[in-house]
Symmetry: none
DNA sequence: GTGGTCTAGACCACC
DNA sequence: GTGGTCTAGACCACA
């Protein structure tokens, strides 16, 4: 698995797992792979996965049953949805808009690319 | 001067200087402040500024006359424009679009925020 | 370890490491010593090594796995070969030839020294 | 006038002036341009020219008549010839040969380029 | 453990 | 005065 340079690997993994939940590939109460299994799957040190799970747990997206494993929380999907929309509107958008202005990128250009990729 | 936490200071300074060039606050062949002056101005160690200048020089945004100082390159504005637009379209946009899809954010919603902020 | 006076130490180290790769003392995907180890080995500050590694990375001769270390790139040897041959033919040779002409040094004389040293 | 990056400007100027003497563009007892004139001609600070003249004077290639100017020495041409040949054989050649070996450049290749340029 | 960034202060060659 | 290099030592996030 390939990782982006500018973001911590454990956060990139958190993003992918969140996607799986948004996609309903994983649903509430599913048991997710163990730290070791996931480490192998991602080609990454188990410590790194541990950190991802830790992070998702503080966000109450997954929870832990000791000695058994990690499970998707009841509200996982909604939580992710809420967190990410907030982040998108409050943090990402202002930066995007500022950049677009500075680089003279119009909404039309933006729209054009949007269509291209959506096809 | 205040800096963001999650990005190296020398890169944040590079961004600001690039903005100055995009704004035409600085134009081709202008001499920019010396490493030490800029260090004082930014409240930062001269070495850090040196790193910024080094970085901007590899991008051919500024160049050096030995013993004299750093100067804005001929094509500085175009170079910055090109680099940043490329980055925006090839790296930022795909991520944004993917996120929007995943979070069910429509172009209309995007547009609405765009107008709000632009006012 | 001894260093020449008129060239930055970090560049001299870069040269030596490049030689190791040309010699196949180090090959693709080898992990090279950490910044600190190499610092000790060379009798030099780790920051200086960092600079060397940074430099070699921009040339795509080595690459970094975060938290793990630096590794020799796939094409490292070819890259070095190409860069150095280009430099030799485009920059060094014209200067050499000009000098030889100016100093009335013939190819025969050059050849004679070549043989002497090669023995 | 354009300067190379890797050598002090004052030395590059010294090289050009030496060339003029080897070319017999300047001959023994010629008065050479004043520091200021030369500074203008080269697009360089007079201090830098001063340094060049100083350097050439220690090598006894030029000499100074106070209040009048700098002049080409009697033996200037021979001195330059001797110094530069020595430098070439003792310092340049070993480096060149080492590089050629490392880069698998044969004398034939060297010869080929020699012919190309000489034409 | 790894790299990465930053500071403070030094010294140098060069213009 | 300018940039450039180097050191020593600190702190941090990440694996």
């Amino acid at each position: 698995m390939e990782f982006n340079e500018h973001k911590a690997i454990y956060l990139q993994i958190a993003d992918r797992l969140s996607e799986k939940i948004l996609n309903e590939e994983w649903v509430s109460e599913d048991r997710i792979p163990s730290v070791r299994e996931m480490g192998v799957e991602m080609g990454v040190n188990p410590n790194t996965i541990m950190r991802t799970y830790d992070y998702l747990q503080t966000l109450e997206i997954i929870y832990n049953k000791r000695g058994i494993g990690y499970f998707v929380s009841q509200n996982a999907k909604n939580v992710i949805f809420k967190i990410q929309r907030e982040c998108f509107f409050n943090e990402d958008l202002p930066i995007i808009f500022k950049k677009m202005k500075l680089l003279s990128i119009t909404e039309e250009e933006f729209h054009k690319h949007f269509c291209n990729i959506s096809e």
